[in-house]
């Protein structure tokens, strides 16, 4: 709780009786989730002064992987409250029920009053919550009745429709509608039933449509045709027209109910396509024969989906919306970067918008947000929301459609915490009030004092909040497990890091404890949150945090470079960018296109080549040689990581350089661009950095000297930048009064020296251009502009692969790595671990070699398919080292390329960059 004067205080420490009455010290809470939210909950609980808390500890967090002991334990205060469980949740339904029982047993026998499930899988499981409630324990989160009503998608949508909450327009009972049209009324239905000899009884309690549904069911059983294909075509046309009235630009999706895998689906653009589309999906689904169930869905096709959500809080009587979050930057259903979206932010941005198009676009956003907030409150109230939840919508242009409500706290809840805090005021005395900044604290408060809590006001904390999810993923954002963190720099100013406790130092030695990212649960390592007085400041801070974060270790791969690149790209375009949910894939493909080029770029070769072209004279050659590391070091660093390069291109394209045809035209002094590059790469000179992590001292001397030269030249002459530049080119002293001819001569020499060889920087934009990366852009309406190359599924696949070439096999067989006894199965009563025709993944165990009664599981570091097994029925046979076990077909074979071939290719690509030839 935050007091009126901004101090952190426990409720029972307050001087106000009213505030004291919200004391939380009676809570003893069992935390049943893991991940960053577990440590966050522990910290919040410590701060708000609950009695005590306990956690579950799974085998994967303790004994399955080395160096993966749950880091929270290093500072855990209640050692008796660590409850060992095989896992946090169950794999199947049966195991889940067992686990629920286990958790409740633990809670009961240890006298826990509350259970907190964070954003764990079970947090919105009505069955789980109900069991807890029945056991007399309070669930710190929405009650089971909320979870039940709001959690099921169809149920939630039904409620939403009744409440006039905007949902995706469409119908799911086209057959029934067609039948109703035919029958006109109840009598008509009866007659149709009679005509077809169907034993149908009208149910007066339900609607005509539902009766039609019942009659249809009977007809399917009796294979009688009540509705013809023509009827359906007509009905589809009429329903589609209704949708087009409102959404004239959208296409409409027809989807056969039993369809799947793209079969029985059509997306139609206009009325003339309807008839054929209906025919085709029914034919494809093989339901043209009379009496078949031909029902299909008609729904608005959302072309440009953005994922927006509203944070809700309520106590069952009141509900309050806490602004939105834009979570469109996601990949494989995993959100990556989440930004707050508030009315205050949008109003500010509308005020400052440079172009009318942008202003209009933002106004649309404001309208959508306002509507969503209103509707979410209506919905939350209707389902009796008595904790926190998230109202999830998809947004397209100025339309928004409710999808579902997540009845739990979400990973990205801190984004909202950055934007708003809650102000609770005593209704009887307006002078008594307190603030809550943590949503978890709010959950605790609601779980204990819910009904007594007055409706709070939301008070703006920051205009913008944002969260970056740090995941253990490779360059193409696929999970990469097994790395060990050796060191992670401490959080800096404006950085909030939820890292599960990985950063807690060894309490005895003060050293960082090595931690393995086993990837047992998910690839998320930490959440990095920041805030700002504007979204720009927010993103700048996030970029700075990512830039200065030192995360070192063995075999470590994270999405940190991706985030750094992406945020810089956005900063370079427009911070109010409105990506859709498919943007990340296109972006990744574009970065893949960069990777494809830079793998063959040899900076040294280019440097040498340029030397030949500019063999001025001895003096120049000396100066040039002196600038070798100054120029090539940051270039090499930039070109070693496509994501980093992507961010630099996004940030500075159009600002530091433009193109005239294929030629790069610098818009800035190249020395300043070089300085920008050093800063961007975190190689700028600061006192606390070690020498290898910043510009080499001899290079710093030149850079500083050069920058001060141009600065001095400007101040000495008092002339405009462009005039000075002109003079330096022409060689004519621009102001003989201030600068003597002798000094001017030196100035020209200095200019020549400082600019010499800087042209090599041109390869940066050139790579951006030839790869097509620079065509990825944002338009005035803040939507992404994506070239076809990066939207086409096939080329995306090829390009993304460039970021992480899969491990390759050298041969077409797998051999025994050691001598011993071969087994194809783990135990005699088990099936073989793999058989001919099966596909195997990298690292999957394929067979067992027993050596001295120890059973070693053997795997290989690549993926492929088993062609045949050389050890058929050979369990228990002795094999020798290197004896073939399987014939295989690897997914990726090594293409042998000679060193010469590689060199020729690299030379060709590298030189093409300076000659602007097409590769």
């Amino acid at each position: 709780m935050i007091t009126q004067d901004g101090k952190v205080q426990k409720f029972n420490e307050s001087e106000s009786k009213w505030i004291q009455s919200f004391d939380l010290s009676s809570i003893k809470c069992l935390i049943v989730c893991r991940g960053p939210v577990r440590k966050e909950a522990m910290d919040v609980f410590d701060e708000i002064g609950i009695q005590e808390y306990g956690i579950l500890l799974s085998e994967k967090d303790s004994i399955v992987y080395p160096m993966t002991l749950a880091p929270e334990l290093r500072s855990f205060r209640f050692k008796e409250n660590i409850h060992r469980v095989p896992d946090y949740m169950g794999a199947g339904q049966e195991e889940k029920i067992k686990r629920i029982g286990e958790i409740i047993q633990i809670a009961k026998s240890n006298y826990y009053t509350h259970i907190f499930a964070g954003y764990g899988f079970m947090a919105e499981d009505a069955e789980f919550i109900e069991a807890i409630e029945k056991a007399g324990i309070t669930f710190m989160g929405p009650s089971s009745h909320v979870a039940r009503q709001a959690g099921a998608k169809d149920q939630a949508k039904k409620i939403a429709r009744q409440l006039k909450v905007s949902v995706t327009p469409g119908v799911d009972n086209i057959s029934a509608l067609a039948l109703v049209r035919k029958a006109k009324n109840e009598e008509g239905l009866k007659k149709i039933a009679k005509d077809n000899g169907l034993d149908f009884k009208l149910n007066a309690k339900v609607s005509l449509e539902e009766n039609a549904e019942t009659l249809l069911e009977l007809s399917y059983a009796a294979t009688k045709e009540l509705v013809t294909v023509v009827d359906l075509q007509e009905e589809a046309l009429s329903e589609s027209k209704k949708i087009w009235e409102k959404f004239s630009k959208n296409r409409i999706r027809y989807k056969y109910i039993g369809g799947g895998g793209g079969k029985g689906q059509r997306v139609v653009k206009g009325a003339d396509e309807v008839k054929n589309a209906v025919m085709e999906i029914l034919a494809e689904s093989k339901v043209l024969s009379p009496g078949s169930n031909r029902n299909f869905l008609i729904e608005l096709n959302i072309e440009n989906t953005r994922h927006n959500e509203i944070q809700l809080i309520g106590n069952g009587d009141w509900v309050l919306a806490l602004g939105g979050r834009d979570c469109s930057l996601q990949m494989h259903e995993q959100k990556l970067l989440e930004l707050s979206n508030t009315q205050e932010l949008l109003q500010d941005e509308i005020k400052n918008a440079a172009s009318p198009a942008k202003k209009a676009s933002l106004k649309g956003d404001l309208k959508v947000l306002t509507e969503m907030e209103e509707q979410s409150e209506v919905f939350g109230k209707a389902v009796g929301l008595n904790s926190v939840s998230t109202f999830e919508s998809i947004v397209e242009g100025e339309n928004h459609f409710f999808m579902e409500m997540n009845t739990r706290i979400q990973v990205e809840h801190r984004v909202t915490e950055m934007a708003y805090k809650l102000k609770f005021t005593n209704p009887e005395n307006k002078k008594e009030f307190f603030y809550i900044e943590s949503l978890i604290e709010a959950m605790a408060l609601l779980s204990l004092h819910g009904k007594r809590l007055p409706k709070p006001e939301r008070v703006l904390r920051n205009i913008s909040g944002g969260e970056v999810r740090i995941n253990a993923t490779n360059q193409s954002l696929q999970p990469h497990a097994g790395g060990v963190i050796h060191n992670w720099s401490a959080p800096i100013d404006h950085e909030i890091r939820d890292d599960q406790g990985i950063g807690i130092l060894d309490p005895d030695t003060g050293l960082f404890i090595h931690y393995r990212l086993a990837g047992a649960y998910d690839s998320n390592i930490a959440l990095v949150v920041s805030y700002g007085e504007s979204r720009r400041e927010n993103l700048e801070r996030l970029a700075h945090i990512l830039k200065t974060t030192v995360l070192r270790g063995q075999d470590l791969q994270t999405n940190l470079p991706m985030h750094y690149g992406l945020i810089n790209w956005i900063l370079g375009k427009d911070v109010m960018f409105k990506p859709n949910t498919r943007f990340m894939l296109s972006y990744l493909a574009a970065v893949g296109a960069l990777a494809e080029v830079i793998k063959d770029v040899d900076v040294d070769l280019i440097w040498e080549h340029l030397k030949k072209e500019a063999a001025d004279n001895k003096e120049a050659a000396k100066v040039r040689a002196r600038k070798y590391t100054l120029l090539t070091r940051p270039l090499k660093a930039l070109l070693s990581q496509p994501h980093t390069l992507a961010g630099f291109l996004g940030r500075y394209h159009g600002k530091s350089w433009t193109f005239s045809g294929n030629d790069v035209v610098f818009q800035k002094n190249t020395l300043e661009i070089l300085n920008d590059l050093y800063v961007y790469l975190n190689l700028e000179d600061t006192a606390e950095k070690d020498p290898c992590h910043k510009i080499w001292d001899h290079d710093l001397v030149i850079l500083k000297e050069g920058l001060s030269f141009y600065e001095d030249l400007k101040t000495q002459t008092g002339l405009e930048c462009s005039v000075v530049k002109e003079a330096l080119i022409s060689g004519k002293n621009p102001s003989p009064k201030e600068i003597s001819e002798d000094v001017w001569k030196h100035c020209q020499a200095a200019h020549h020296g400082f600019q010499l060889a800087n042209d090599i920087l041109k390869i940066i934009p050139t790579i951006g251009k030839i790869s097509g990366f620079l065509d990825l852009d944002i338009d005035e309406k803040l939507d992404a502009v994506i070239p076809e190359k990066f939207t086409n599924t096939e080329s995306i696949h090829t390009l993304v692969k460039k970021l992480t070439p899969p491990p390759k096999a050298k041969s077409d067989e797998i051999v025994a790595p050691m001598g011993g006894m071969f087994y194809s199965r783990e135990a005699p009563d088990r099936p073989p671990m793999i058989k001919a025709g099966d596909h195997f993944e990298t690292g999957q165990a394929l067979f067992i070699i027993e050596v001295m009664k120890m059973f070693n599981r053997i795997s290989v570091p690549f993926s492929g398919t088993i062609v045949s097994c050389c050890m058929e029925d050979a369990d228990g046979k002795i094999v020798t080292k290197a004896q073939p076990i399987f014939k295989i077909r690897p997914d990726e074979m090594i293409k042998e390329e000679t060193e010469e071939e590689i060199q020729i290719r690299r030379k060709k690509v590298s030189l093409s960059l300076i000659h602007q030839e097409k590769i």
Partner: protein, 578 residues
Amino acid sequence: MPESLILTGYFSYHLAFLKYFDLAKPAFMENNKHSSLKNPFTHSEGSHTKPHGLYESALDMGNQLIERPLHGGGVDRIQVQHSKDRMTVWERIKVLTDKEPNIYYQNWGTNLDGASLVTGILKVGNRDVAIYGHDFTLRAGSMDATNGSKLARLILMAGEHGIPLIGMNDSAGAYVPAGVGGLDGYSEAFTALRKISGVVPSIMLMFGFNAGGGSYLPRQGSFMIQCENTFFGLTGPGVVKTVLGEDISADDLGGPKVHSQSGVVDLVTNDEYGSLKRALRLLSYLPDNNRTFAPFTPTSDPIDRFTYEEEILFRKTFNSPTGMNTPFDITLFLQQITDNGAYFELQPTRARNLITAFGRMGGHVVGFVANNSAVSSGQIDIGAARKGTRFVRFCNLYNIPMIFLEDTTGFLPGKEQEHGGIVEEGRRLLDSIIDLRTPRLTLIIRNAFGGAYATFNSYFTGADVVYTLPTARIAVMGPAGKDYVYKDEIQELNRAYKENIKNGMPEAEARKTRDAGLAALSQRYERELMNPKEALSLGSVSSVIRPGTSRKVLGNMITYLMSKYQPSPMTGVQREFE
């Protein structure tokens, strides 16, 4: 040079020098495009017209001398060093400590430049550490008689003062123009390092490209850390090509992937920075010398905590389908018993059938030697024996108590091993354990068979206490032992089998009967002999401990034994073999 520079402290000095010398005025020539890297507005011409007395001249000379070693081979050479992504020796020192180094023999050498070697004492945290580092920018960091002597002095001083040594090796080898002098230099350094071996621990970092003596010398140290993109070896690939006609890259000849597998280096890192930081982490487990304990850090992790995870680990492993024969990673156990679960593995990418690691128990640094059934069944082969021997000898010399975690089916037999000399390597491990004088415990986790049992810190090799878990299987032989123990029973089964066939029983049925009998014998063997009972009855094992209490039992015993142990240098008879 302006006076103020002398006062600006050691590090800014370095930079100031570069600025002064490097941006020299361009030589203007007619009809030529001139080029300079100098801001004409800040470098005014010839303003040094202050009165210059004798004192100032002396001062100037002094300044030049003071700064000379800091320039190394000049900015061109430094640039070359940097272009290979390598730091200069001075920069490496800065990574180790932010405190000013205490440099000895600053101007040593005919050129008064330090003779391509920097020697000094650093304050790292609150410990004094002797360091040396080759300055590759001067004569490629090569050795001659002069700097060999300089190095020897530093090494001997470290030994005399009892402070650890960190070596930053970046040397092309002997300085060829120095002739035999270069070799003498190395000899002197070799000798000094051997003399302090066992007196103070040393950590050798391999940077750049080291050949010849530049490889031997560091390996004389206690631990070697090599980073990626470096090479060391007897000679480089060039010589190998000329002499032997072998075409091989430097990385394939002497890169980290080679040395980490042969066991020549103990740790591999990504880059120079990683090596320097790793050295400091390793140092936190090492004592200053052979007369003191390794740094003791009182622990907040209760020594008597019951470790549920230990129980769960065993239950899960031994109740799995493959039962008592299921391999498991011993470090999973190790992390349960050490203070805060922290441990530091040496040679972590090779011979992992035997784990050697430092960790703390109740605040005391302990050396762990553990059989790891997850790799090659935990059998001790040549690689494992070598790894273990080195580690045991180190702990012995430096008064570090040891805990042996035993789970091995024995030494690995076979042609490859015999031809490679397993008898000698196994013997070394055995002898190193016999010689061990520091407090030492054994915990038998599962398998302890035959010679491996006898060797692996058994009571009779001098263990202070041997504990066993209930899952232990202490026997002369593993499951194969049934052939000897039940020789008569097996003969009888075979006889019955033949008899049955003779009597007209179908072959398959006869075989089935015989195999059932054999399986029953196997089970009987496991039941009756594969357990700790016999060893307990003979006093070969002190006591059985409950899973979950390993930390408490081992930790308390280490604390007790350490309270009775005085750290002191090894004395006594030198044995015939190492």
